[in-house]
C-alpha cells in the first residue's frame, strides 16, 4: 500500500464522518421544524408519553431503589471511617440529584425506550408503512417522528426526578432504618448541602439534554435503518451504543460547565 493510498483512506474516513455529522444535523433541524405540527395534535404525543414513560416506571423505580440502597451501604462504609456517617444523607442526595439520577436514567431510557422506538420505526420502514404514508401525503416526520421526539423529551426529566426521589428514599431505608443513623441528622445535612437551583435544577437540565440526545439517536437510527431484518437489528444495537456514549460524553461536558466553575 503506497503512502498515497493511506492518505486517500484517511481522507475518505474523514469525509464519511463529516457526512454523517451533517446528515444528523440536517435531520435534527428537520425534526425541530416538524415539532409545532405535532403539538397541534397533542393526543399523538400523549400516546407516546404513555408508551415511553408509563412502561418505564417499574424499571426506573426498581433501579432507583437499588442504587439508593447501594449508595447507602457503600457511603456509610466510607464515611464511617472519617466519623462522618451523619453526612450520608448529603452524599446520597448529591450523587443522585447531580449525577446518578440523570445518567443512569438516561442509560436505562436508551435501553428500555430508545430500542423500542428504533425497532418500531425501523419495522415501519421495512414494512413500507412510511412510504405508504408519504403516498397519502402524510409527512411521516410530523406524524410518526415528532410526537415520539416530544414524548421522549417530556418523559425523560420526569423519570430522572422519580429515579432520584426513589433513590433518596432507598438511601434513607438503608441509612436510617437499617444502619441506624439519626434521621434528623440525615435530613438536615442533606437539606443544608443540596441547593434547589444549583443541584436539583442543574440535574433537571441534564436529564432534559439527555432526553433530547437519546430520543434523537433512537429516531435517527430507526428512520435511517436499512429496511431488512438485519438492518433493524443493527440499528437497534447502534441506538444503545451511540446513546450510551453520547450520554456519558455529554455528562462530562455538562458537569464541567455546571459544577466546576468556582463560585
Amino acid at each position: 500500500m503506497s503512502p498515497l493510498d493511506l492518505l486517500q483512506a484517511l481522507g475518505a474516513r474523514a469525509l464519511k464522518v463529516f457526512r454523517a455529522l451533517g446528515h444528523h444535523a440536517f435531520f435534527f433541524a428537520e425534526l425541530i421544524a416538524h415539532l409545532p405540527q405535532a403539538l397541534r395534535r397533542f393526543y399523538l404525543v400523549v400516546v407516546q408519553i404513555h408508551a415511553i414513560g408509563n412502561y418505564s416506571l417499574v424499571i426506573i423505580a426498581a433501579s432507583g431503589l437499588a442504587v439508593g440502597f447501594v449508595l447507602g451501604l457503600q457511603g456509610y462504609y466510607t464515611l464511617s471511617r472519617y466519623g462522618a456517617a451523619e453526612s450520608l444523607g448529603l452524599l446520597v442526595a448529591l450523587s443522585l440529584v447531580r449525577e446518578l439520577g440523570p445518567v443512569v436514567t438516561a442509560l436505562l431510557f436508551a435501553g428500555r425506550a430508545g430500542t423500542s422506538l428504533t425497532a418500531e420505526i425501523g419495522l415501519m420502514k421495512a414494512g413500507e408503512q412510511l412510504a405508504a404514508m408519504e403516498m397519502m401525503a402524510i409527512d411521516p416526520k410530523s406524524r410518526v417522528l415528532a410526537p415520539r421526539f416530544i414524548g421522549g423529551i417530556i418523559a425523560m426529566p420526569l423519570l430522572a426526578a422519580m429515579f432520584s426521589a426513589v433513590g433518596i428514599f432507598g438511601g434513607y431505608v438503608v441509612g436510617v432504618l437499617l444502619i441506624g443513623i439519626d434521621a434528623g441528622q440525615f435530613w438536615s445535612q442533606m437539606q443544608d448541602g443540596v441547593d434547589v437551583f444549583d443541584d436539583v435544577g442543574n440535574g433537571i437540565v441534564k436529564s432534559f439534554v439527555f432526553g433530547v440526545a437519546c430520543t434523537f439517536v433512537a429516531l435517527y437510527q430507526g428512520y435511517e435503518t436499512q429496511a431488512t431484518p438485519e438492518g433493524v437489528a443493527q440499528a437497534t444495537t447502534r441506538t444503545v451504543v451511540i446513546s450510551s456514549l453520547a450520554v456519558l460524553l455529554l455528562d462530562f461536558v455538562l458537569t464541567a460547565v455546571m459544577f466546576s466553575t468556582p463560585r
Binding site: V97, A161, A165
Partner: protein, 157 residues
Amino acid sequence: MGRRGIESLVGVFVLLGFVAIFYLALKAANLASFNTGETYTLTARFDNIGGLKVRAPVRSAGVTIGRVASITLDTRTYQGLVTLEIQKSIEFPVDTSAKILTAGLLGDQYIGLEPGGDDKMLAPGDTIKMTQSAVVLENLIGQFLYNRAAEGPAEKK
C-alpha cells in the same frame, strides 16, 4: 384501552414526575426554609477571612439568621470586606462583635455575631466595628514556635 384510559395513565405518570421534583426540592433541598424574606445588610472588615465563602451562614447564639452576601478586598485598608444579609426582624446593638468561626474541627466557616449591651441598634448599611479574624493554622504554629524560641535555650530540656 380507550383515549380516556391512556390520557389518565399519562396524567398519573406526569403527576408522579412532578411529585418527585417537588419531593427533591422540598425534602432534599429544603426550598421551604429557603429564606426569601426581607433582609438588610451590614458590613464588617476582617484582617483575615480564612476560608469564609459567599453564602456561608451568619449565626448568633448558633441560630442561623443570615448569609454572607459578598466578600471583597478593601483596597484602602487591605482588609477583607464582608457584606452580611441579616433577616429584617432581627436587630443588633451597635457594639456587636463579629467573629469568623469554624463548625466542628474541619467544618465550614461561618460568621458568629455576639450582641453587645448598647441601647442603640445597627441601622442597615452600618459597619460592625469589632471583628475577630479567622484562625489560620500556619500563623498559630508560627506563634507557637516563636514563643518556644523566646523562652530561650536554657529552658530546653
